[in-house]
Symmetry: C2
Subunit: 500 residues, 2 copies
Amino acid sequence: MPKRAAGAILTGLSLDRTQGTPLHRQLYDGLRDAILSQRLMPGERLPSTRTLAEELGVSRRTVVDAFLQLYAEGYLDGRIGAGTYVAQTLPDDFLIAATPSPPLFAASSASPQLSQRFLAQRAHTDPVLAQFQTDKEQGRAFLLGTPALDEFPNDLWGKIATRIGRGTAAHANSYQHAAGHLPLREAVASYLGAARGVRCRAEQVLIVAGAQQAISLIAHVLIDPGDSVWMEEPGYFGAKGALLGAGALLVPVPVDGEGLDSAQGRRLAPNARLAFVTPSHQMPLGVTMSLPRRLALLEWARDSNAWIIEDDYDSEYRYASRPLAALQSLDTHERVIYTGTFSKVLFPSLRLGYIVAPSALVDSLTAARRLMDSHSPLRDQLILTEFMREGHFERHIRRMRALYQERQSMLLEAARRELAGVLDIAPADGGMHLVGYLPLGTDDRQAALEAKRQGVRAQALSYNYLEAPERSGLVLGYAAASPAEIIEGVRGLATALRRI
Amino acid sequence: MPKRAAGAILTGLSLDRTQGTPLHRQLYDGLRDAILSQRLMPGERLPSTRTLAEELGVSRRTVVDAFLQLYAEGYLDGRIGAGTYVAQTLPDDFLIAATPSPPLFAASSASPQLSQRFLAQRAHTDPVLAQFQTDKEQGRAFLLGTPALDEFPNDLWGKIATRIGRGTAAHANSYQHAAGHLPLREAVASYLGAARGVRCRAEQVLIVAGAQQAISLIAHVLIDPGDSVWMEEPGYFGAKGALLGAGALLVPVPVDGEGLDSAQGRRLAPNARLAFVTPSHQMPLGVTMSLPRRLALLEWARDSNAWIIEDDYDSEYRYASRPLAALQSLDTHERVIYTGTFSKVLFPSLRLGYIVAPSALVDSLTAARRLMDSHSPLRDQLILTEFMREGHFERHIRRMRALYQERQSMLLEAARRELAGVLDIAPADGGMHLVGYLPLGTDDRQAALEAKRQGVRAQALSYNYLEAPERSGLVLGYAAASPAEIIEGVRGLATALRRI
């Protein structure tokens, strides 16, 4: 085969010294593209490295580096001193296809075929969940599920981090136990025992990346596609997303003033595998599940060998009375899988939470965690352990409890002044949000949209329903917003609601 | 109903001042148990708080606290000054059941019904994965998939953590974007472009909790139960676990000296949805996939609209030549989902890795991450971004590359001296492990067990096969072990292998 002039090869090769990519890499890319698109044919001889270096105005080293790489990857053949050739072994068929296709041609990948479970969960819940992660520029009135971010003692947390970094032993860099750092599990068990009446040994505590992962894991381990799950109606959309991800068939069980009614659940789906409840402070309605309802729910689970997920997401904040003991504390038959998060008491970007599992499920949930993503990062677990041991944790909760109670009062007061007739908000004994009801016939999604135009976040209550909602309303988080933001937010809401 | 003497109530109530649990909580627990087990009957009147306090030798405040809690939870009824009664509304039926059952009675929960997908994945892969998280006491020769833990600059990392902690803005405490911190995605895109030839925009990079989560997410989004997936035979067990978790039907496609053979894959399962490959350094055999095989694999994916997961888990460590460009860099039709981890170049307990997704999958994978566990913790992402920007990252890789090359030589040299005739180890161009072949007919699981008795970790090669393995061998990681540990480990291995 004739030796080609370097000039022909140089066509289409453009080296750009202002780019971050090294020159030898650019040359490699250019030659490879030429080979794959058959501008350089199999068996074709390349000019010497010296010639090419001169033509391109680069060092010979640059050309040698590019050639070596192409040799190593099989694009080039040749023996030292005998010339360099484009490899013969490239499958012809591919070479043509590899010619960069025009953008329109790649349409096959534009709407890929996705799994049924993913489509189900995404359709139902992602738009709502995604709101937490967007619109960072909007104000904090009335952001849901988010604590007072600027009240967190970042400095203190950072100091503990430094102290721990200094003393990090090699094994702390290694893979860890999927169930979490044992001293943290002990601290959580002891905290939950004292604060929530949860009865457990540290071995039953699994450290997870928050409640969303807790529910994903539980669903993954317990639910087969088509299994029925009782879901509070209305209920927490994040939980629905996680449950749908395992193929669950969600059965909406009505929530009234006493919480989820398991008599109705029994009528609708007696053989459900699982029930999802928020007994301390129902999400979103704010109801506390009554004792008879708690006992009836446990009885159903015991009778039908079903499981209960108790999501105790914001029970730390109870204003009117002492916090109620967890449903788990009444469970004498180990049917309750208790879960909670540090997102609401520390900060959401920490991504730490916990499951307290019945003994029979501890090993399975641990194995599932290992297979899902190994374990939670260790350093944050070490910092949190110290933060709890040194008493900062309970101190921070007490401080936030007082703060959020004040913020709730502020929201209620402002609402009394500004929202009479357009939004009916009642106080709540605890938590970080209130529900305001809209006048009959008002579309709450439209109201939420109008609020957004006024720079106010308000979640449409109807988002939380699987079936047609009985009443329309707005769910308003008040913990993250400053007093000024609350006042301003209520004004914005008033403007929005008088407009629709 | 007659007023009972406090004495009767006190039976079964034992307050323990040496316990961590507050006295009012102990009293609450005791009274609640008495009510639930019907030692105190519905409607029964309780002694006054004063009487009870005297009898128990505690402050009246303690008794009042316990009573208030029981009132709040619905166990007690009564009006101020008119006496305190056990509530009438407790469902009778439950009360009997709630009597603590003898341990033997709780057998119903001993072997719970678990999901099919979980049982499949656990049975196949968890025993192997779990090894990473146990036996912390054993030596580091020849731990797999683990870098030189004591060589990581913990101090430097800690200092960056402190600097970042000091400047943490409120929004950094909030929920973050599920795809990860954008500056980190940019740093990863630029690093992968330069080091691995990966062609992507930062928007295609998703920060995840390591390769295990990457594969779990991809499988969750793309695989329906029963879908066929090409799996390298032998192949990485962690990936199998994640794929089985989505209900995949794993099709073992043989790996020879050129890597996975897609001609065989086409014969076995032409319509597979996905192929899992480790082209740079096959896990476990260490082969580099040849260029014709790479092109053929891409061609199949393009033809059949299938996806390819390229797990580039340890490609940073290449000794004999420059690292090969990633398969992704050849992919002109966006069929390759590229994934890598920081576990092998930084440290495993960090739990950070990345996916470079074809544009068509970015949104779906992001939504799936949000529904699985929201996002990776932010602070570690902030630290890592700085660590990369300041050049520590590439410096650390260069240092480790030299170190691991040395350790591989050391292992090979020691093996030449000590293991002749019992284990046949060949050098490798890269990576953090070597495969040693056992004499024909030797059971590698028994060999691994015997090695364990000698304090040496060695993974049976057969663990990596779905079908009957062709040859038996041991997979030995050498990156985590010190020179002394390597020498000692080889001696232990020699003893073990001469014993079986």
